[in-house]
Amino acid sequence: MPFKRYVEIGRVALVNYGKDYGKLVVIVDVIDQNRALVDAPDMVRGQMNFKRLTLTDITIEISRTPKKKDLVKAMEAADVKNKWENSSWGRKFIVQKRRAALNDFDRFKLMLAKIKKASLVREELAKLKKAAA
């Protein structure tokens, strides 16, 4: 029941709505109860409503409103990218994005791969059944 993820300076959050959907941003300062000043290496520092952010478990060591260089350095030091891509949430998110970006040919290939995988599984299952019988 107690809270584990806090809005604090250095908290990494995922944007879950709007133009910057899917981006990882760092909370660099808090404007007021509803908004944070948010920054990422590839965007201009700007304000964002907390309703658009989902907090992650990752935090980085920065002081209030750091320079862009210091922010990038701190993100490298905390290895945000790898931590995100290796976390279960991060991996699922990447898979979701990949699935959403499939074109028709990719979906065809996916269908063939699924059929192949299913046939292999059934082969093994048949062998096991025979051995057990």
């Binding site: 993820r5 809005v7 300076i9 959907y21 000043l37 520092r45 907390f50 907090l55």
Partner: protein
């Protein structure tokens, strides 16, 4: 971020005449939704201060003023005069925002919600960027903390775009953060 109210610098003077070859030039910084309204507001205020009207005056310049540092948070103090149902009152309000236009917009919406004052009944007397030490209101001072930390108490579950919105959902969402 598009703001409803834009800040304009309006410069105007009375028309030159035989008695006054070089009339004094007046400059005002005011907020309006567009340039046309800004010019109109300029004459409204100038009429109240000097003996000059739009018909015997000329507009010299109107420029929009943009925020110099929209990436830093500032505390804005706004002095205003507003008309309530029973008379005129002065007020001082504080807002925390990245841009002055954002602070002004917050002020207009707050005046509308808290006091039922419509936009045209509000006159902005003065605005200033207040250093943190001189802020008067607790609601702005509570954010003057370099180690600010608080949890988000309730999560808002919504689809990432309006297109994916559905009327019915299979299960109740989990609102714990």
């Amino acid at each position: 971020m598009s703001y409803k109210f834009h800040q304009y610098q309006v410069v105007g003077r009375g028309l030159p005449s035989e008695t006054d070859e070089h009339p004094k030039i007046y400059r005002m910084k005011l907020w309006a939704t567009n340039e046309v309204r800004a010019k109109s507001k300029f004459w409204y205020f100038l009429r109240k201060l000097k003996k000059v009207k739009k018909s015997n005056g000329q507009m010299l310049a109107i420029n929009e003023i943009f925020e110099k540092n929209p990436t830093t948070i500032k505390n804005y103090g706004i002095w205003l005069r507003y008309q309530s149902r029973t008379g005129y009152h002065n007020m001082y309000k504080e807002y925390r925002d990245t841009t002055l236009n954002g602070g002004i917009e917050q002020m207009y919406t707050e005046m509308g919600s808290r006091h039922r004052v419509r936009n045209h009944c509000i006159q902005i007397i003065k605005t200033a960027t207040i250093p943190a030490k001189l802020c008067k209101r607790e609601s702005t001072k509570q954010f003057h903390n370099s180690k600010i930390k608080f949890p988000l108490v309730s999560k808002k579950v919504r689809p990432p775009s309006r297109k994916l919105k559905t009327t019915y959902k299979a299960s109740k969402p989990n609102l714990f953060v």
